[in-house]
Symmetry: C2
Subunit: 125 residues, 2 copies
Amino acid sequence: MASSESIMKVIYKYLATAPMGTGAEIAALYAPGARVEDPVGTAAHVGTDAITAFYDSVRGGERTIELLTLRVAADTAAFHFRVTTVIENTTIVVEPIDVMTFDDQSQITTMRAIWSPADVVTSTA
Amino acid sequence: MASSESIMKVIYKYLATAPMGTGAEIAALYAPGARVEDPVGTAAHVGTDAITAFYDSVRGGERTIELLTLRVAADTAAFHFRVTTVIENTTIVVEPIDVMTFDDQSQITTMRAIWSPADVVTSTA
């Protein structure tokens, strides 16, 4: 099993890459055949190509991410974080809790993002 | 599928019952055959009897719980909360992230608690 330290390293890399990285750069942190559900209840993106396309589809604007809380237990991590996206004069903030599982090589095997449209706060300058 | 509102109601009931309730009172919020893994990586408690016994086994001291963050998506909820347990002059604080899934009757079907011994803070008055 991956160590807590190696799982945390991948999470930090994910949080550093996710804001402005390409779909391919983010998908590289996932195992082949991994499954992404964001948010939970929507259609899952399975495999490197689908995960790459998903992250490319949500790019746009200037995005920053702040980690609020990270917990790791065995092969599973949960983290609460704030995503701030600025598109022209509109700022969109959402603070999901994501849950990820990891394989022995510390690659992400599943990601489930828990948030709803009701959690999104939009403001215009 | 259970509504977000009904899932939140069960979480609030769980947080109100968990600090000082009996194992049976807490287990009543779970579906028959539900599975509890607390923390993730330890042996799962499956079914009403095992879940009742698990919650009875962790009773002790004066316990309070504060909800820090709650997110719901479809049939899944994740929440970050602070558990403070006072046993004589020792105070033990841990702030897990728990992930629960729910059936159509808003009963809890799985609970995975994500925290590690390294997250536990103990102080003595």
